[in-house]
């Protein structure tokens, strides 16, 4: 990879680790299937994750690979796993935890379930994990160089997860890399809000409408669930699902800022770009992370990874 001076691959599988592991640090290991790039491999680096373990296309990484990554970054302080909430990933990381425990390595798992469109709030643990994972990794990575206690870092990471919500809106399916076929059917002129990476059902299907109206619906849901009040601070991540242009994302950003200023909510930071994609899908996602004092400190740590950099 381009930044090979900072990360290296170990073994034969897709296990990427930072070149210089900080001593006496709780490790952060992230992972999932391939084909949502740059999630997860783009987020390994300083004040981000220490290791990413990647499976095959849309398949969870095997417990053996996860264990390999765990061994590589463990500094006797334990390792935190951060991954998106899919059945295969849950099984593989759960198994990896058992294998690590047998070797005396302490681990904790944080499943990210930020997709507010995938299930009602009462069933939050059934929700999918999407772009919010990047914000959770940002907080956890920043915290991991300031907090050297596994349980404490676990609490911080879980709280970051609990204060993160995302939604995807799509107007055209992406095409599978393997065979060029459409991943799902969405009639021309229609959009779906709350949809998943491969067209997994969302919460609202309707005629195409102006971007401001779409953003209004999305932000209403995100800010509502996060119970954002006047003077609350949030971090925003606006992401192209693959074929939506950065120019279009700026339109989304413009509306988000209008909404925030009307509601008196302060946007502490905004990231705009390609963070999580589904091939050539036309659409975008918005993620919001509600900040508090400590989360803001951790979030603001300078970070340097292939797909997320901040001074």
């Amino acid at each position: 990879m381009a930044r090979s001076s900072q990360i290296r691959r170990i073994g034969d599988g897709n296990v990427l680790v930072v070149n210089q592991i900080v001593k006496e640090k709780v490790g952060i290991l992230i992972g999932g299937g391939m084909a949502a790039e740059p999630l997860f491999l783009g987020y390994v680096g300083k004040n981000m994750a220490d290791c990413a373990v990647i499976g095959n296309i849309n398949a969870a990484p095997s417990p053996t690979l996860i264990l390999e990554g765990t061994r590589a970054i463990n500094q006797s302080k334990g390792v935190i796993y951060i991954f998106n909430n899919y059945t295969g990933d849950i099984l593989c990381f759960d198994m990896a935890e058992e294998l690590a425990e047998e070797e005396g390595i302490q681990t904790r798992s944080v499943r990210v379930w930020d997709d507010a469109g995938s299930a009602p709030i009462e069933e939050i643990t059934n929700r999918r994990g999407i772009t919010g994972a990047i914000l959770v990794i940002k907080v956890a990575g920043g915290a991991s160089n300031l907090v050297d206690n596994l349980e404490e870092l676990y609490r911080i990471t879980e709280e970051a997860r609990d204060n993160t919500r995302s939604l995807i809106v799509v107007s055209r399916s992406g095409h599978y890399l393997e065979n060029g076929e459409k991943m799902f059917d969405l009639p021309d002129g229609q959009i779906e809000i709350g949809v998943g990476l491969h067209g997994d059902p969302g919460f609202m299907k309707c005629e195409m409408m102006p971007v401001d109206e779409v953003v209004d619906i999305m932000m209403e849901k995100l800010l509502g669930e996060l119970q954002c009040k006047r003077r609350d601070e949030i971090a925003i991540l606006i992401n192209s699902m693959g074929a939506t242009s950065i120019t279009e994302l700026f339109l989304v950003n413009r509306r988000i800022n209008q909404i925030a200023s009307i509601k008196g909510i302060r946007i502490h930071n905004t990231d705009i770009g390609y963070f999580y994609t589904s091939q050539d899908m036309v659409g975008f996602s918005i993620s919001a992370l509600k900040l508090n004092g400590e989360r803001k400190t951790f979030f603001d740590q300078p970070s340097n990874s292939f797909s997320y950099k901040r001074d």
């Binding site: 099984l91 593989c92 198994m95």
Partner: protein, 216 residues
Amino acid sequence: MIQSLTVEQVNNMMVFVSKNIVDKQEELNEADRLIGDGDHGNSMALGFNTVQSVLNEKSPETVADVFKKIGNAFISSVGGCAGIIFGTFFRGGSKAIGGQPELNSENFAVFLDAALAAIIKRGGAQAGEKTMIDTLQPAVKVAYQMRSFPLQTSLQRVVEAAFHGMESTKLMLAQTGRSKTYGKKTLGHLDPGSITTYLMFKYMAEYVFGLDKNSF
């Protein structure tokens, strides 16, 4: 009548089971094609082939070691959910029977009970959702009822119970994993994981009956 098996016999029994299930690769794929992505036979063949090579490598010292090796073989060789679930089954069961030097109907029941609990915990599925749990649960129940009988008798009854459990999955709707998306189409078809589970018991029993010089 076979009362119990030595570690070496357990090892040989599982090699026998593995060989026979590998032979069923195509049938298992076919069963999975009806309600899933059609690769269950491939996963099981990969897993049980690896099992054969690790069991032939070096003789384990305890019964638990045999099962743990099998579990690890599944986890390291089979990608995806099937590998983890079958790996969890054998590893979960092996943890419960410690360093015992023989397999009898008593610790066989303990093994099965712990194996079932481990896959329920890991996979999050419940009985009635068209999974191998529906085949295992009745088998565990019978294994407990038979725990003061010779292993041979216990196994015979366990096979019967597993067969009925497997058959019961025909009438169930898949509610977990990828076959969930097939919805009503899963009605009338057996759950492939249940077929493999039943076959494991069937070939275990065949091996044990083969050791008994007095049975036909």
